[in-house]
Each structure stands twice: as C-alpha cells, then as structure tokens.
Amino acid sequence: MNVTDFEMIAQLLKTRSGLALSKDKAYLIESRLNPVARKWNFAGFDELAQAIRAGKDEALLVDVTEAMTTNESFFFRDQKPFDQFNELVLPHMLEHRAAKKTIRIWSAACSSGQEPYTLAMLLKENASKLAGWKVEIVATDLSQEILDKAKEGLYSQFEVQRGLPINLLVKYFKQTGDRWQIDAEIRKMVKFQQFNLLTNPSALGRFDVVFCRNVLIYFDPPTKTEVLGKLADLLADDGFLYLGGAETVLGMSDRFQLMPGQRGIYRLMSEDKAKATG
C-alpha cells in the first residue's frame, strides 16, 4: 500500500469514526480490508482504494469503516470492573435510586455484545435485590453488522470460554450445534442501537453508569477530550464512568476524577456537578 492510499483511508476513518490510525498500523488496513475487497468483487486492494477515493458508494464507505473499527470483546473482560460493579456501583445505585427504582447503564462501543450481556447476567444474579426495579442497558456500536451479531447472542466455543464462568454458561446459554446462544430473557434486557461516539449523544438520555472501555485508546487527544465531554454531559451527577485499564482522563478532561482506590472508575468533578445543577 502506498503512502497516498494510507493517508486517504486514515483520513476517512478519522472523519467517520474518530479512529486515529498511526503509520505503524498500516498493516491492519490491508489485512482488514482485503475481505471487504473480496465482498465487493474488486480485483484487489488497489481497486478497492480507487473506489474509496471516488467516494461514490456510501455502503462501501460504511463497510470499510466497520471493518476497521470492529474490535474483539469477551465476557467479564478484566473481571475487576465487574467485581467493582457488584460490590460498589450496584449497592450505591440500590441506595441512591431507591425512590425512582430505575437504573440506566450504557455500554458504549459494545462490539459483539459480551460486555452488556455480562452486565445483564450480573443483574439477573442480583434479581432478588432488584425486584420492582427497572434496569435499562443500552448497548451501542458504530457497526450495524456487529450489532446484528450481538443481538443474536450466538457465540463460538472459543468465545464462551474466555472469561465466562462455567456455572453461568450452564445457567444462561443453550447449545446450538457447535455454538452457544445466550437466553432470550438475557437478550431482552439489552437494547442495542447504532451510535457514533463523535455525534451528539443527548438523544440517548442520562445514564447512571457508563462503560466506555478500550475505546478512547483509538482516538487522538482532541477526540478523546471531545468524547469525554459528551460522556460527562450525559452522566448522572453521582454516576460512574468506566474506562479501560490502559486509559486515563489525565490531560484529556478536567471534568472527571479517578475514584480513590478504584482503578478504571471515574466520577464527575464536584465543580462539574455544580455546573450541571446550577
């Protein structure tokens, strides 16, 4: 791939998804876009690059963006965030939302659905404490294709063995041939919706908990600041923001502070809360 093609595709991805592709990731472009070239019956990568440059076919540009921005996910990823959810976040919500009995959770960039389904299973495990409550899990991703897979809730043997405890596999999945499907009851707990983090999120409403893990790492600093600002706007004053283990708000946003002793969980700065209520 020549430099001109790399720059043209990198610019397309930056504009459409915020993905900042450095030159050392150039190899990713060909490996991920060759299947797109085959799907569209192009003779090879060069012909695909020409079609992208022409920019006439919106469906092609969507396919290219989705192929480059879809990333792997797995159940109970990193484990600790979900322990914190059980031990800290959920008890806080049960106490502070006792009057409304409503909790809204957003899994941003949910990929193939493992994160929102992990949360749904955790909530189901806490069903006795949540009797009479309305808990809404909104899961969004840029890619419609990956959302379609997520909605189906169908996973390979490999996928259900990474992070998912065996007792939860037995309890919440059914075997379908060589694949495993999460129960309809769990699937119904998650509302999947296509959403681009670069756009205005206000239509999604306010959230008590936001999971936006391993997303910011793909953005350049100005985009990180922009996205963190949008998340701050829709997080409840006493809400919780989860970022990935390799991510931080330091130097990117002064609206969040790390929760003391809780790696990966951020809360709104008190000045921000005052602004929101003032």
Binding site: Q79, F158, Q161, R162, P165, I166, L169, V170, Q175
Partner: protein, 121 residues
C-alpha cells in the same frame, strides 16, 4: 510454587498443558489415567488438577467423585479439560464437584482465563 496435576491419556496433551502451566509458574505432575491420578493425590495432594474425561482404567469423572469423597485432605481445585462439550457432561462434572470446565481444543489463553476465574492465578 503451586502444584498442578495434569491427568490425560494423551502424551501430547500432557506435554502442551505442561508447557502452558509451567509458563504460569506451576510445578507439574502428570498421570495418564484416573487411577494413577488418585495414587498421585494420595502421595502428594496438588493445589490444582487439570482433568481429562475419557481415559482407560478410571475415567476423569470417576476420579473426581473418588477425590471429592476423600476426607481430611485439602481438596484441590479441579478443572475439567475434555472433548465432551455438551451441556449434559458439563452439568455432570459440576455436580461431581468440578470447579471449572474447558472444552477442547484449548489454548494458553483459555487455560489462563479459567485458572484466573477459580483463583489459581
């Protein structure tokens, strides 16, 4: 160093599992069937057992039932690792006292993930 007994009648599987678990700082012992595994546990009870299902002499599930019936011993964590990948077998293993279950084929990522879940890592 934590000890893990690898129980499998396939020498190749034992070798692959040994390499992965040694990389995770386990000291390894091996047994090629359920009876030899019982003998190994009587000699020296391991912290963990990675257990195949179908083996000659004594199967993995027979071994597990016998192990869990042993009184006054520090019971090890048992992770099944088998080609039996249907819900009936998984449920039977859990009922017999298995802590986790790996469906073959496995790789280092799956072993590490399962051993982490049961608190061995």
């Amino acid at each position: 160093m934590k000890t893990c007994l690898i129980v499998d009648d396939s020498k190749v599987v034992r070798m692959v599992a040994r390499k992965i678990l040694e990389g995770l700082n386990f000291e390894i012992d091996e047994a090629e069937d359920g009876q030899k595994a019982i003998d190994a546990c009587v000699r020296n009870m391991p912290r963990a057992v990675l257990l195949d299902w179908n083996m000659p002499v004594k199967s993995g599930i027979e071994f597990l039932r016998e192990l869990r019936a042993m009184a006054d011993v520090d019971q090890p964590v048992v992770v099944f690792c088998t080609t039996e990948n249907d819900m009936t077998h998984i449920q039977e293993a859990i009922d017999a006292g298995a802590d986790e279950y790996i469906m073959k084929p496995f790789d280092s990522e799956i072993i590490e993930s399962k051993f982490t879940q049961v608190g061995l890592l």
